[in-house]
């Protein structure tokens, strides 16, 4: 893809990508911005290359997840070097409604994979198969995380176990 075309695609998916980056960065908007920016640079300078093996958005979500994971690793290394063992909790988002805060808190308590699958399916409206592609896992695995995640989220939100 040409640079102009890539920029057009990135611009079109910008809002969705920010939401996903926010989820990958445990709701830290500053970190999400950094991840999103680094992702855009990697896509535009060719460090992340789209080969057309999936939808562009699915691939882009995979890149965002990889970049966020790398940044988290480096942050953990920095904390270790600076002997700061307690990772600070991100500050609550500004102007956060109670329902929004409750859902975010419930999602944070889920295992990472379950949270990721639920975010991709419910928040980003991907199919389970597309979520599996974005996360680089098997479809069956994604389906299992989806079902378990839904049940756990309902319990966390006070709705009881799934029937």
């Amino acid at each position: 893809m040409e640079r102009a075309e890539l920029e057009r695609e990135l611009r079109a998916h910008h809002a969705a990508c920010f939401g996903w980056a926010l989820s990958c960065c445990r709701d830290d908007p500053q970190a999400a911005e950094d991840v999103l920016h680094e992702t855009c640079l990697r896509v535009l300078d060719g460090r992340a290359r789209f080969r057309g093996e999936s939808a562009f958005r699915t691939w882009l979500f995979g890149v965002i997840r990889q970049v966020a994971s790398g940044m988290r690793r480096r942050a953990a290394l920095r904390s270790l070097l600076l002997l700061r063992m307690d990772a600070p909790e991100p500050a609550p988002l500004p102007n956060e409604a109670p329902a929004e805060a409750t859902l975010r808190a419930a999602l944070r308590r889920l295992p990472t994979r379950q949270r990721e699958v639920l975010m991709l399916v419910f928040y980003q409206d991907l199919s389970i198969a597309e979520a599996a592609q974005a996360l680089g896992i098997a479809l069956g695995t994604a389906r299992a995380h989806y079902e378990r995640g839904k049940a756990a989220l309902r319990v966390a939100l006070g709705g009881g176990a799934a029937p």
Partner: protein, 115 residues
């Protein structure tokens, strides 16, 4: 096929998405759009500080006999050897004295014990 319970979750997530949409930063792909490398500056600083401390520690602890005076300068040793009676020394012995003279010869430069 989705159940009512799934619809409830979808509605909650849609509200979350709408809230996040208000926080989306401006699209900007210029390399200088955000300050970068802040984290690595901290890491680099910490590594440099650790290296300086380690070298300093090793230097203080590992330096052997740092309270013992430095060996005598060659010209002092030369003086010691030259002051000896020539018939007292065998051939080549002056050079050995110059090379192997003990450290105390420096401190007692005026009164070399064996002269």
């Amino acid at each position: 096929m989705t159940s009512d319970r799934d619809d409830d979750l979808r509605a909650r997530f849609a509200a979350l998405r709408a809230a996040d949409a208000r926080r989306v930063p401006q699209f900007d792909v210029r390399p200088s759009a955000y300050p970068r490398g802040r984290g690595w500056a901290w890491t680099g600083g910490a590594v440099a500080l650790a290296a300086v401390l380690a070298v300093s520690f090793a230097w203080r602890v590992g330096k052997p006999g740092r309270d013992i005076p430095a060996p005598a300068a060659p010209e002092v040793m030369l003086h010691v050897a030259d002051e000896m009676p020539s018939d007292f020394l065998l051939e080549g012995e002056a050079a050995d004295i110059r090379r192997d003279a003990p450290v105390f010869a420096v401190e007692t430069n005026d009164e070399v014990p064996f002269l």
